[in-house]
């Protein structure tokens, strides 16, 4: 038997809506493969998007995940990374149309996973920066820590919605109906191996964007002030340093 033909027939029966029409699937045992593959995909999405699960409920989530899995099975055996395309899927998923913030919440779940799995690197301490002469600071480039992730959401309090649903904190969940409806940003970090998060304003997100592009502190400050003229860049830098958002500029230096 030609293995290529066998695999093609097997895959067709695995995802078919009416599998019993396929010769292989006529055997009762074929359903075990169908169920195991689907369950593996859906379980992975459920594990990777806990805030979305809490928002929509487990049954709704697993039904949506089943649709996504049959349309786009994992492209990587590392199931931790399954769901990179799930936020975009939710954005186009008709039953989710009444939950316009859902794709953004899914995106923050995804950023949590990225932070969790990112490379280890030393954190740049505020004290280390204090040892640099003020005239040299402008030309310094501070790389964001490999585990740092941030995103600004215009017009919706995504940080609060995601944070309450990710943590399951009863008080935060109870406060959600009274949220002021305005933009919020999130900064995720991984001090001491556990992912943590805090709100970050639009200027802070823009500052980190500039640093990620390789801008010097001087250029990053100019960039941020161009977009947010009221920003206090010195306070912003102090806040980000205190949070541990940067790694050491030179991995071989010991600050």
């Amino acid at each position: 038997m030609n293995t290529g033909t066998f695999e093609r027939d097997f895959l067709a029966a695995l995802w078919a809506d009416a599998p019993e029409q396929q010769a292989l699937a006529a055997q009762p045992g074929f359903a075990i493969y169908r169920n195991t593959v689907r369950k593996g995909c859906i379980d992975a999405l459920e594990a990777n998007f806990p805030a979305v699960v809490r928002l929509v409920g487990r049954d709704w989530f697993r039904a949506a995940a089943a649709r996504h899995a049959s349309a786009a099975p994992p492209d990587d055996a590392r199931l931790l990374h399954y769901g990179r395309a799930f936020p975009a899927f939710l954005a186009g998923f008709a039953p989710a149309a009444g939950l316009p913030w859902l794709p953004a919440v899914a995106m923050l779940d995804r950023l949590w996973t990225e932070s969790h799995a990112a490379a280890d690197a030393p954190v740049l301490s505020p004290a280390a920066l204090a040892r640099i002469a003020p005239e040299d600071l402008q030309a310094l480039h501070l790389p964001p820590h490999p585990a740092a992730r941030w995103h600004w959401f215009d017009g919706a309090p995504i940080h609060s919605i995601w944070s309450a649903n990710r943590s399951g904190d009863a008080q935060a969940l109870a406060a959600l109906p009274d949220l002021p409806w305005r933009g919020e940003g999130t900064l995720l970090l991984r001090p001491a191996q556990a992912v943590t998060w805090q709100p970050l304003d639009a200027a802070g997100c823009a500052f980190l964007d500039a640093c990620r592009r390789g801008a010097t502190l001087g250029d990053a400050a100019v960039d941020v002030l161009g977009r947010h003229p009221d920003a206090d860049v010195a306070a912003l830098l102090a806040l980000l340093l205190q949070a541990g958002a940067f790694t050491t500029p030179n991995p071989h230096a010991t600050p």
């Binding site: 293995t3 066998f6 695999e7 009762p28 492209d75 055996a77 932070s115 799995a117 280890d120």
Partner: protein, 281 residues
């Protein structure tokens, strides 16, 4: 990295829920097995966790996604990541499956069957040769559980014997899979074990199974969500009485009991293996 290397006897599948208990557990020959796919990350807590475990216990890397029996060649990036884990954690055992799980750039989270032909034997042997070279060590290949009658040219025990001879691979004998497959396909599990090439077996798996919700006892599912069944214990005794003890794993992935219950199953396997070792062959 600090590591401990000691002779291994009976080990447990390592679940994050049992991390603290597993870290502090002490028993002669205790070891732990993980799926390397869950540790293929750049950094962070998963690798730190596994390093802590490796400092206390021997480890086994049990791969589920190399897709050795697939039409496509194994993914080169995946193999590189696997080799990096092998170098970093120096596992006591390294294993994979006679199955496929990748097609058209998509990964299917299951161990799918392929008809055992001469062409498949050549292909898997060649791939194993490349994999063992890339990893710098021998890999043990596991018999998966079966649910379908397929047009096989080879019986499984004979296929695995020839695969080991050609590629120099070891074998991982999953006795629960033998029991499940024997029930589902209607062959004799004891007879299968008696024909299995014992000298190539580097590891044994024991696990629980459940009857299919629709077809009941006529269709068993390799679910890893129950204690090892009495029939599987009897087959284990039969095999180790013939072949002698081998590193043995209690696999449990779902409906996790308290850690102590898994350690009790481990003790039972160790006692069967010790009795077999005491009997002159």
């Amino acid at each position: 990295m600090k590591t401990i290397d000691a002779p291994i006897s009976v080990g447990l599948g390592l679940k994050p829920e049992h991390f603290d208990a597993a870290l502090s557990a002490r028993a002669p020959g205790l070891w732990f097995e993980v799926h390397p796919e869950n540790y293929m990350v750049d950094g962070g807590p998963r690798l730190a966790w596994l390093e802590a475990m490796r400092a206390r216990h021997p480890l086994s890397l049990h791969g589920v996604s190399l897709s050795l029996a697939g039409e496509e060649e194994p993914d080169a990036g995946h193999l590189r990541r696997l080799a990096a884990l092998v170098r970093r954690f120096e596992p006591a055992l390294m294993s994979e499956h006679l199955a496929w799980s990748r097609a058209g750039g998509r990964y299917l989270p299951d161990l799918l069957p392929a008809p055992r032909s001469d062409a498949l034997l050549r292909r898997v042997a060649d791939r194993l040769d490349a994999v063992q070279n890339a990893l710098g060590r021998q890999v043990a290949i596991e018999n998966p559980s079966h649910y379908l009658r397929l047009p096989h040219a080879w019986d499984e025990a004979g296929f695995l014997r020839e695969l080991a001879r050609r590629s120099g691979c070891a074998l991982l004998l999953d006795i629960n899979n033998v029991h499940v497959s024997a029930r589902n396909l209607g062959f004799d599990a004891g007879d299968y074990l008696d024909r299995f090439p014992a000298q190539a077996v580097a590891e044994i798996h024991l696990a629980g199974h459940t009857p299919d919700p629709v077809h009941g006892e006529a269709l068993l599912v390799d679910s890893h969500d129950a204690p090892v069944a009495e029939a599987v214990w009897a087959l284990y005794r039969r095999f180790v009485e013939r072949a002698g003890p081998r590193p043995t794993l209690i696999e449990r992935d779902d409906r996790l009991p308290p850690f102590g219950e898994l350690m009790a199953e481990r003790d039972r396997a160790a006692s069967i293996a010790a009795q077999a070792a005491a009997v002159p062959a």
